[in-house]
Amino acid sequence: MVGSPVLLIAIPLLAAFMIPLLGMIWKELVRIIPGLVLAFMMISSASMLMYVTNNGTIIQTLAGWEAPWGINLVFSPLTAFLATLMTFMGFIVWLYSYRFKRNVDFEPAKKYFIFLMMLVAGAVGIVITGDIFNQFVFIEITGISAYALTAFYTGRNSAEASFKYLLMGALSSSALLIAIAIIYSQLGTLNMADIASKIHLMPAGYKVTALIFFMMGIGIEAEIFPLNGWAPDAYTEAPGPIGAAFAGIVVKAGVYAMVRMVFTLFDVSGAMDILLTIGLITLIVAETAAIRQEKLKRMLAYSSIGQMGLVFVAFGIGTLEGVYAALFLMLNHAIIKPLLFLSGSQLVFNSKEKLIKEVNGLGKYMPFTAVLFALGSFAIVGLPPFAGFWSKLSVLTAAANEGMLLIIALILIVSVIEIVYYFRVVNRIYFFDKAEDLIPQKPRVNAVIAMSVLGAIILIIGFNPDVVSTVLHNASADLMDTPQYIKNVLSAGQSLTN
């Protein structure tokens, strides 16, 4: 085991604030240090994931305060899985954007890397913390760095996207604070496990109100339907790798926070159905909006929202299988959608409007990028033998076991829509004639490596989904087992104090 959970948060935050100083010594350090930090985080959380898989949950108390009073970090199979996924994606995003030459104006590179590290640290923090107020703080850290990253390019409409994101984010933080206030006024505690063990003491009206405020607060990060107006804009206007980071890291943290609330903290009947309904509406609205898009990244953004809707549908099924399917979907989406964003932003790199029709015929000129984009498209619509198929299959079997035939039919109809718009793009890439004035972009080596790693993972999971099934099984069992979670945290079984 390398490192400890708290280092996953402390080191990137420390490094983020050190970067401007280190940059004065040698400019290249601005780019290298984040890579080292993210690599350390990735290795550390992967090794802890292995440790957790074998030995059970790690509970780390901070500053010596025991569970109900102090803040603690919970590194359980679920959170370890998500943290590993996020740090890995963070590393990939860093690798992709190690050097960027852009044809638009942008802020200094050091800001990019500072905020990238804060983004990853915040997202990891959301997942591994065991305290709702601490989670709120991490949501804000993630949010602020996300606003800043969205507005990274100064030349485009990025400020507009960022402002919309900020407006929604501010509402989200208000809602979260209200929810926290309600819970604290009723239960006098902020520790998640403690809340979960005492939630039955809370009057139903307060409980549901708190849950609703939580749903709104986190729903904005998790891109559920009426709250996701900011998302397409932010995805479109943010730099390509940041779009990948949103899809692979930020949204995943939001979804985690949401399901942690619904599954562990609140024992409210009907919350599952709400998740399911919201998920379905999100899925349908987003996918139908995606089919009519003219900009590539905007299409990918709507598709990403739709996939999150599907994740919520899977969680909303509420069985162990459903949770397993949802986590599998999250994993696949966290691999595939970043690949699409990365390769897609390469494809439209030199075009001004970033329109879909500007990728015409690029398959010949950018063969590698185009193949990876096609691979991602095949995988995300769930064609076997690529990764997306297995997650879609597990969602459908989970739904079928609960007899939800209508939902299966809806998911499949939406999948047909998904096929239409992805394959329209793939067709354009390969079978149309290139526009005369468009200069194909040759991807840099680091971008090629980053994209091919993702592509390789899609193939590996596609041909042998068993490589991830153990981790996913542990994680889904972990989410479903609330008593065990409470016991782990409150008795601090294997606590690592520091």
């Binding site: 107020f133 703080v137 804000e140 949010g143 602020i144 606003y147 800043a148 507005a151 100064t154 409409n157 400020a159 507009e160 996207a161 960022s162 402002f163 919309k164 900020l166 407006l167 984010g169 501010a170 509402l171 933080s173 208000s174 604070l177 209200i178 926290i180 206030a181 604290y184 006024s185 006098g188 902020l190 397409p232 804009d233 479109t236 206007e237 909006a289 009519r292 898009q293």
Partner: protein
């Protein structure tokens, strides 16, 4: 009687903070100027901070600090946790407002207007 007054005061503070939240929300939702929207958001924040503080308040409360002369004041100490929360939330709110205002400046440079209706380049 005194208790009653205290309860009335408490609910008054609750009501006040909730009305602050609503006022802020009203501003954020209906005002067309970006600056006013940001101000509205800040008012919402302020209202919530007040709400949090009100939750932690006890009658005749003192600061939750053990100092000479207050050794036996544990019963009267206000709950320190909401105060810590509010301090954190104020800092966060400050940061968000700062980012928001800097974005407003950027938007103004780009669009030469502060009307949110006219900043709709990204849609559908």
């Amino acid at each position: 009687m005194e208790n009653q007054m205290f309860e009335i005061l408490r609910y008054g503070i609750y009501g006040g903070s909730i009305s602050l939240i609503l006022i802020g929300l009203y501003a954020a939702l209906t005002k067309r100027s970006l600056i006013k929207i940001v101000i509205g958001l800040s008012i919402v924040d302020g209202g919530i901070h007040l709400l949090l503080i009100a939750i932690g308040y006890v009658k005749n409360g003192t600061a939750p600090i053990f100092s000479p002369g207050f050794e036996n004041a544990v019963d009267r100490m206000v709950d320190p946790v909401p105060q810590a929360l509010v301090l954190t939330a104020i800092v966060i709110g400050f940061a968000v407002t700062a980012v928001a205002l800097s974005l407003v400046i950027r938007l103004y440079r780009h669009h030469h207007t502060l009307e949110i209706d006219e900043i709709k380049n990204l849609k559908w």
